[in-house]
Structure formats: C-alpha cells, structure tokens
Symmetry: D2
Subunit: 379 residues, 4 copies
C-alpha cells in the first residue's frame, strides 16, 4: 500500500474527488496527507471532511512538503497528487520532485514550455515516477487502439483526426461566478483556454496511439464568447513526421455537446475509430475485410487493454476507472522502484513528464500560429 498526499482538490472542486476515487480503486494507495486548498482555512476544513489526521492536514503545500520531509522515511508520503489550477503546477511539482517524491500532476503540466522542459529534466535527474494525468489514454480501448496501430494492421498511418467538443462554455459562465469557468478561461491562470484544457487531451491521444510526432502545424484559434480572455475554440492542421497529416478540433462552444471525444486513424490498410460516448468499444475498419468491434475485456481484447480493466466484459467502466488506470500504472512503477526495478511496457503504462512537456510545447506553437493568422509553424 502506497501513501500519498494531495495538493488542491478541496471542497467545491470536481477533479480532486475523481483523483481520490481513482487512486483508491485498486486498493494500492491511501490518502494520508493533504494541503487541499490555497486558502488555509478551507484546506483544513476540506482535510477534515476526508478524515485526514490533524498533523498531516496541512495549511499549505509548503507546510506539507516540510512536514512530510520531517517524518521518518518509511512514514512519509510516497507520492504527491497535484490537482491545482495550472499556473501553480510548476512551482509545486518542482518542489516535490526536487525533494525526491514521486509526482502525479494534472495537465496541461505548466504554463510555458521552458517550465515543462525544466520539470522533464528534473524528473529524469531525480529518477522519480512523474505521471501527467491525461485521463483519456487511461481508457482500455485507447490502449487497444495503440496496439492495433503499432501492430501494423493498418499499414502506414496517413491521416489522423482527433476531436474534442464540449458546449459548457458557450456563454460567459466565468462572469456568473462559476469557479471552474473562472480560472479555465483565464490565460493567466490556465495558460490557454479550450486549447489547454481539452486540446491537449486530444494532442496526447494522437501521439499516444500513433507514436508519431507533430512536426508542424497551422492553427485557427478563436474566441467566440464576447469578453472572454482566452480561446474557446481551436482547429489545427497537423503534419507528422513521416508524412502523415492530421486535423485536431477542440471547442468548448459546441453548444449541446457534453464531452464528445473522438479519434480516427487511417493507414494504408485500414482505419480505427473510438468515441468517448461509447468507450467500451473500438471499431477497426480493414481496407479489405469486415469491420470488427473489439470490446473491453471481450473475447479478442489483448493484454494492452486487459491490464487496464477490472470487471467482466459488458459491464461498463468509465472515467474514474480510466483515471484509475493512470494511477495504477504510475503506482506499479513506484512499487517497482522501491524494489529496485525499472518497469517498462504495459506494466507501468502511464503518460509521463515528457508527454507533459510536449503538450505544453504544442499549446505554445498553436497560439503562435494563431497569432500569425494561421501560418504554418514548426513544433
């Protein structure tokens, strides 16, 4: 059993609870410490809600870092889970990483690629497990999609379409006291709007599944809601290394959509399709054969997805379980490190600090292209 502390995720938030449920799902970790809000009073109250002992219910992340370091090594937290607004990620993650704690950090990882690169360097240097919670790659069928592409069944990849459509920011919720909307639409705190919040998720999916690097891009960055500071809609043309091309759409003003994430990858020999609205299934469309459906835990699912699933086929798993798969992968790597091993492959399958750094660079380049009226820019 691993011990962990959480920074952020106090009363009123959403993602903190998902992280805690996800971390608890496999009985591999216990929450033993927290600095659950930037407001000391709220932090302590939130910690009491969760039953944290008083001496580890910290008023600030700095107090938590100091307090945990002061404990004997076998009693300290093993890792920290950081679920604060984006603009605080860098400072907090750097401090814990520097002190040698494993880190689980929300995306986008930092506001600037310089910060992202710094964390990547630090993570490597300290030899820690550094997981960036790109939740969607935790879905079992996304792992199956990666396997299919890498198996060569689809031939050489030609075209990649990734889309993330939401509608919840179709109006200026940020002016109506919605706290989530407040910081997510504020570039100073979030780095970017829809681009950072959801565009990075599908950038990650494209890379995770295909293994291809984006070499250059051309972006239309839009703000449709009047008075909004950040972008709320982006469409990006992509050129990948090796000649494949792609289109990425991310929007939070697609009024009526909830969380419509889709991935389509086409190669010389066929295509593959996944939709977040039907996450238990993966559709494979060979050029010369019948379309096939792979289901989670079903008769033809492989280890790639089976290692990221808990219950029998036909019994739906969801978002919490997907997040749980990231935690599981990271925690298996932590346990291995404790035992002096270095896990690779499916056993420790999680998005890491380099994925996080690449995502921040992607955000910078898209904004750069947008400012240059859609000029192609190199990544």
């Amino acid at each position: 059993m691993l011990r962990y502390g959480m920074v952020g995720g106090g009363r009123g938030g959403f993602i903190g609870a998902v992280h805690r449920q996800a971390a608890a799902l496999d009985g591999m970790a216990t929450l033993v410490a927290g600095a659950l809000s930037s407001d000391p009073e709220r932090a302590v109250e939130s910690g009491r809600d969760l039953g944290l002992p008083d001496d580890r219910n910290y008023e600030s992340w700095r107090a938590m870092l100091a307090g945990e370091l002061a404990r004997p090594e076998g009693d300290r937290i093993d890792f920290v889970s950081i679920v604060t607004p984006n603009d605080t990620h860098f400072e907090i993650a750097r401090a814990f990483a520097d002190a040698g704690f494993h880190v689980v950090l929300d995306k986008p990882m930092t506001l600037t690629s310089a910060e992202g690169d710094e964390l990547a360097r630090l993570g490597d240097e300290r030899g820690i497990v550094f997981c960036v919670t790109y939740t969607y790659v935790g879905y079992p069928m996304i792992r199956e999609a990666r396997r299919v592409v890498h198996s060569g069944e689809l031939g050489e990849v030609r075209k990649v379409y990734v889309d993330f459509r939401q509608g919840w920011l179709s109006t200026a919720l940020e002016n109506e006291g919605n706290k989530q909307a407040g910081w997510r639409t504020d570039p100073a705190r979030a780095g970017a709007g829809a681009l950072g919040d959801i565009g990075t998720h599908v950038e990650m999916l494209a890379g995770w599944i295909t293994g291809l690097e984006i070499e250059s891009l051309c972006a239309e960055v839009s703000t449709f809601v009047e008075g909004r500071a950040g972008d709320d809609d982006v469409s990006v043309l992509l050129r990948f290394g090796g000649g494949a091309r792609g289109v990425l759409n991310a929007s939070q003003v697609c009024a009526g959509e909830e969380c419509a994430v889709t991935v389509r990858v086409f190669g010389t020999e066929g295509g593959v399709f996944w939709s977040h609205e039907d996450p238990q299934r993966l559709t494979i469309m060979p050029r010369t054969g019948a379309t096939r459906i792979i289901t989670r835990a079903g008769v033809v699912a492989s280890d790639d997805s089976n290692l990221a699933t808990r219950i029998p086929s036909g019994h739906p798993e969801g978002f919490i379980e997907a997040m749980g798969n990231l935690y599981r992968g990271a925690m298996q790597a932590m346990i291995a490190k404790r035992e002096g091993k270095n896990l690779i492959g499916l056993a420790a399958d999680y998005p890491n600090v380099h994925d996080g750094a690449r995502g921040v660079r992607f955000v910078e380049r898209v904004l750069e292209s947008g400012r240059a009226d859609g000029a192609w820019v190199r990544v």
Copy 2:
C-alpha cells in the same frame, strides 16, 4: 464513516471486489472485518490481501458474528455485506439481521420464497436497513426512467419488454473448472440458472421502473447446453396488475452477447428505452412529439438521477458506480437511523428486502410454469 464486514468475496471471486470498490467510492464506509471465504485458510489469506487486522480477519462468518458482537457497540461493524453463493444467503443474512446488524445482500436473496419471506419479516421486525444488490437499478438513467413513467408523461403503461442476454454459458464451462460457472449453473447452490442469476435483474427493473406488480406469468424454461442441471434460457410472458402486459427474456446462451440488458416501457402516450450498452442515455419517445435523449448529469437530468451520479455529464460512469449508488442509498439510510431519522424517497433509494423476497417468488413461479409446460400461473 461507517464500518463494515464482508462475508465471501475472497481471492478469485469477481463480485466481492466490485462491492468493495462500490462501498468505498463515496468515502462513506471502511472495510474493517471479513470472513472472506468458506475455507478458513483462504479466508484469512484473502483478509491479509486486503489489509484486515488479524483480530477481525475471521475464519468463518459465525466467528465474525460472535467477534463483532463481543466488541463494544461503538466499535462494531455497522453492516455486513454478504457476497457468497446463493444457497448460503439465508442462514448468514438471518443471523446478522437477527443480531441487529444492517445487511447488504446479493440477489437472488434466497433459494425459496419461504426463506425470502422470513428475511423480509425479520428485516421489518428488527428495523434494520436491508439492501439487496440489484445492481442495474443503481444506474442513474434507470432512476430517470422510473421518474418518467411515474410522472405520467407516458400515460398508462401498456407493455413492458425487458431483456438480458449473455453468451458466456453457451458451452459447458461448468465442466471445465470455471468456479463461477460451477455454482451458478447448479440449482442446488444457485436456486435457478439464468433465471436466478440475470432473470431476477430484469424482473426487478420492470417493477422498479413501472411500479407494477406481476399478477400472472407463462414461462418457457430451457436448458440448451447438454448435461447442464439448471436452466440457461427463459422467456416469460407477463400480466401486470392494471392490465399491462410484458415479455421478459433472460439467456446465458446468446453466444456473442456480453451483458445486453434492455428495457422498453410503452404507455398510451409514449415509450422509454434504456440499454446497458449505452447506459449514460435514456431515450424518451412521446407519441406526439420528438424523441428526446436525457443524459446522465445533463441539462435536463433531474434529482432522481443527479443524486446517483458523481461526475459531470459526458464523463461515463459504469457498473461500479451503479453498485456504489445502492451502497450510498443504503448507507444514507443507516446514518439516518443512527440519528433517529427514517429517510424515505431519493435520499435512501435502494432495493430492499421486500424487493428481494418478491424476486425469489418470481423465480419459483417461473419454474412452476416451466414445469407445467408453460401454463399460466398466478404470482
């Protein structure tokens, strides 16, 4: 925080882990005791896997009952979760209920309706919370379906179709050492085959959603796999009080199906449809208007489902969360009782011991009709 003990659910099982994940989901309960197998050695090993303290890691449910009763009242378990094979349900549940513990029990509740009625009587007499884990009624959109029917929007109910199709018992797995298949196809241990295992789930759905009682039924009870003792396929014609009619199909020999549960209710003014393969959505088909889709946590979802959901719309929840909703409802009722209140309605929304007893009676009557070559029998 409630304390609970578990009977059954040790190494190698499936449903025990789901119960533990479900119970833990909302941070309302901790597992503090267990008698996790009928084999004492396996019980203790399984308890160690889960980190149970030695003094509450019992070798048998009888030891657990005695041990917990011996503890001071404020330190005892609040409830027991029983996830053993069906033939042991009655004895264990009766003992714990009789001692005043709240009970969470898997379905079908008992082997005979006499036993079921006895538990119902005892549950009422002791004033305990007695939850029977008909998991599917925990799905938020099933609660929304119930609301829609009860709102009168569909008019008077005329026809109800419920289906549960699986294929995993298409071959004689029970002869190949599959433990799950072993007891589930053995009428002596399970009471009935597909009928008890999955037929009861959809019988429950029909009643839960419509509020109608089955008055009589006519059943075709089949065993397709050679040498199998129990039924593996049933189709039942239903007559409800008030004149509605229905059809119930439950099969474990629909080769190729995983867990295809569907519900269709039609009234004078429209219909409603739900499928377990797309559980986040409910389809409402008014006779004179456009078909509408209600999504979990979406803009038109009501308290009926919102109180049974955790994360924003568009982020899928699944089977574990559905089971978690049963636990949540039961635990809220337990907490209320501790505080001297009696919760009703949505706040304590769980299938109870009377639902369980009715389910057992349904199984008996279906088997009776089957033996009488499909004669209509009264329920």
Copy 3:
C-alpha cells in the same frame, strides 16, 4: 420488358405507389393495365393519373381479367400485382392464377389457411410465378443473414428473437376516418390486426433466415385500444423443429416507435443481429471472435446480398429498393419461364405462395392459442 396490371393501389393509398416504384426500379416492367380501386369511378380516375390507356384502365378486376384474356397472347399482361385489402386477396388471386397469369400478392395472403392452401395448390398446378410481398426479406442484409446462418458459422440455432414495434395505432385512428387504420384493424377485412399486418412479416423473417419450421406456439393476443375489434399487440413463444426456441413480438401500440423491426438469431457458435433502423448493416457476433459488421455492397458482402443491391456501398438503399428486390426475383423467374427455364436459388429469390400459405396458418394458430388463454398449440 414485362407488362403488368395492378389491382388496387389507386388514389389515397400508400402501398400501391411503393409497388409501382419497386416494379419500375430495374427497368424490367411497365404498368400497362389497372383496376385501381373497387370503386369504378375512382379506379378510372386513378388510372388516368398514371397515364393508363383508356382501353386498359378497367373499372374492376373482373373487367381487367376478361379484357386482358381477350388480347392476343403477346400483348397481354405478364403478371398482375394485387394490392387490395386482405379480404379480397383470395378471390382475385385465384382468378388470375387460374387463368395462368403470374401473380404478385400482398401479405397476409388470405383470411383463412384453407384459402391459402388452395392458392398454393393452384400456383403449383398452373406452374406460375406467385410472389407474396414480404418486403423485409428483400433487404440485402436479411439475405446476408440467411447466408450466415445457413453457412453454419453460428453452429446449430438455439434461439430466435423477432420483433416488430409500431406505435401508429396507439389511439383509435380507425374511428377518426383514417382509411388505412379502418380496414387494418377490422378482422373481417384484414383477418387479424397487428398479427396479420406486421406479425406475419417477422414470422416470415424467422423462417426465411433460419430455414426452421415453427412446430408449436403459445401466444398472448391483446387489444389495448378500447373498442377495437382486432388485436393490436401479440407476443408469441415459439418452438421450432429441431429444438430451437423463439420469441416473436408484434405491436402497433408501442407509442413512439415507427417501424422497429429487429432480428436476432443465436446458435451454438454465435449470433447475428439486424435492425430495420440501420438496414445497411448486419452484425455478426461469433462466440470466440470479434464482432463483425457486413455492409451492403461492402468488401465482404456476398452474392446473396450483392444480387439484391444496385448502388455502391455507403449509399443507402431503403424500403422501395427492398420491395424492388422481390419484384426483381419474381420477374427473373417469369422471364426464365418464358424461355422455358426454371430458375432456382439467388437468381429467383422471392417469397412464394407456400410462404404465404404458411403465414396464414401462423395467424390462425396464434389466434387459436390466444383464445385458449395461451395454451400451446401445434402448427
């Protein structure tokens, strides 16, 4: 090019126009004669609408029969298409068949099985092509389903589910001057209600696809709309020769449904699924492999469906084209007969007079079981 005449199908009807569009689709037939209504004046007006020459625009089917017989053989109609209400089918079809004309006749073929058997006998005796327009077997993917079942891929058939759900008769439309509703709900004219109108369609699908005969059945025959003479909802348990079992539902009071026809066949090795709401696809679910999708005219479609399709894959075909496939099959058989050949197999693939007679017998037996409160009756 074949010449045909039509009986019924004048102004105000629906199915007559579909038959004409279907017959014309492949450029194999021209409408040259008609007795388009039982009302002589309306018949003639309707014929003028369609551009029929005055001398073949008959006031009654008797006049048409006489008129055509009076023409030289090479100038007569080759076949008659009969699209009148059910109670007139027998007399008209018998007369034309007896005179040696090929016949295309709507289902249900007759009101009694004695009449059905008489037509079957006559059809055989005269050696004519006698097509009964069970439209749904004209869908290409239904033919593919038949091929899959007959190929043995699904093993031995165990369970067959067929459903036809409509909602248009949820209220007493027949009392509001709706002509279609008028005769279709009147047992004297239609023979049976939902059972005859749509139940026969799915009875046909079950037999066509599996090749199995219904040996006995047990039926719940309901009339939900007050004052209605005929049934508007049936549910039937089926036992097939060889041991397979089935369930057939047909309802016209499923408020909100339009024309929801589904077929599910499960065998020892897998299942197959088709839905009229997505008619271009067939889903095959092997017990031990990935679910596969066959699409109309797609890369893995076989001659069974390719011979019943006109345009490339991905370009939807619909109901008119399905009906057109029946006409095409029958007309190819007629042309072959003219040339002294007897086509069999896919080249002349249409439901014949024996299918029609079997359908009428099915209706009789279901009504018999219904009257006997759901007793099992032999077919």
Copy 4:
C-alpha cells in the same frame, strides 16, 4: 409527364442509372432520347438496352441536340440530363442551355470558375431551370437541418464541421483499369480529385444548411497514393461571412470508410448533427434542453422534409430517393414555367447553377491555398 434525354450514362457507369431511377421515381418524367456514350457504337447499344427508339438513340450529344431541335416543339425533350465526366460538362451544358433546354448537370459543374460563371450567366439569361445534382442536399433530413438553422433555434452560427470520408481510392485503382477511378483521379478530366468529387458535396451542404458564404479559407491539399496526379485528401479551415468558422475534410484514402458524410453546425443556442450512415434521423442538441431526434416523415417533421419524402416514417429512403428529390424540385419548376409561373421555396427546392458556379470557385481557391502551402486566400 416531362420528356428528357440523357448525355452519358451508358453501359458500365453507375451514376447514369441512379439518375434514371431518380427521375422515374415520381412518375413525372420519361426518358425519350439519349446520347449515352462518347463512343457512338457504345452509345447506340446502351440506348437499345434502355429501349430508346432508334430515331432518338443518338450517336453523340451534338446529334441529339440537332435531332431534338428538329422535332416539333411539343415533341422535343423538355430537359437534358448530363452525366458525363467533368471536363465535358461545360461544352454540353452550354449548348443545350443556349438552345433553351432545361438542364440537369452533375457536379462539379465545370473545370474552371470562368466556365461556371458563364453557365450561370447563360442560365439566368435563358430563364431555364438549371439543376446541379448535389445529391446530399436531397436528403429530407438535410432540408430539416436547414430549416432548424434558419428558424433561429440554434442562435447565431459559430462553427460548422463537414466531413466526407471514403476509402475506395486508398490504392492506385486508376492503374488497375478501374474506369471510375481513372477519370476521377485525373485533374485534366475531373478538375480536382477528392476535392472536386466529394469536397464539393460538403461545401454545398455547409452553405445550403447555414446560408453562410465562405469568405476565406486555408487548405491542406494532399496526395497520399504514389503516382496519383490529383489530390486524394483535403482539409480546409473556413471563415464564413458574419464570423462563423468551419472545418471541411474530404478524403478518399480513409481506408475502411465507405461514404461517411457528416454535418455538424453549432450556434450560440445549440447544435445539429446529421450522418449519411443514419440518414433518416436529425439530431438537435439545444444548449439548455434535451437532445431531440427528428425522423423522416415522423410526428415532428415539417414541410421542408415532408415535401421531399414518399413513404411513411420508419420505412427507410436512400440515395436514389435523395437524388429523386432534386429531380422532383427541378421538374416542378419546369412544369411551373410551362404554365407561366415561377415557383420558389420548397415547391422548387433544388441546387441551381449559381450553387454550381460557387462550388467550382471553391475548388479553385482550395487548390490555390494548397499550392501556397496553406496560406489563407479569399473566396
């Protein structure tokens, strides 16, 4: 009944037969003349297949034009349907239009926008009906989508996504003797590849539904199959007048896809979705209400679609019927002109010569942007 002649569409083609079936569907037109191939011998043979009289079975379109003009006015063809490869459209259409015949012409209308503009000018000048067969706008639910957008229910349009994905040109079919692939991938004959063949279809859909004009665009024009002369994949960012933005994807190398056309329009108050794979349904997603489904001919369908449908709800119509709706709209306009009226609105609802000219300009601008490495160009 109108009389028409066809240019192109002889033996071996696909689209000619679809045009003839579509034109015949409503019994409003008869094929009386043809110049069915550029090869005189093949033309005559093809005409005989269709039963054309010898004197109107022409060896060339020039002969047909002369021959028809030589007939008395009441006996001439009313319109010509031109279904030849794109590079011949201009000359043939100009000649018939100039002679005062109504014209039905396949898209893309011409190879250059100068030619397109010339036809538009000529069409206006001669006062003829000039229909360009953008088949997809003939689907009833596309008309319903147009109505929904124009009704204002979705508020102001912000984002438009249109996609057309096919896979049939994933390999160099044009080198294997496939005639369709041959001319369609040859820019000299087709003008452009996937862009002209299918990109124009979705450009048309975007404009038809929203009423918005594309002001500027930025395109990635790709050729993935080695040795292919024309494009086989395009992705285009769009800016519409009024501030809306869009993304258009058209590809013929999405291996595994058949004919996947989708439209998504999002406004300030909601969105609308249509897919060619499920053409009978339109999904409306209001920002603040339940998602609604409109079905063809269903209870909430409006005249916009009801005037473009033939059979009852739930009975699928397809591609031939969609094409038939274009013919019907154009023919109703022709009949009205004959009677001295000018139909507007739904009664004469077809894509006209100006739509065609705009489509050709779109092709030119996309190619221009592609050559300029994705620079934004004004339309």
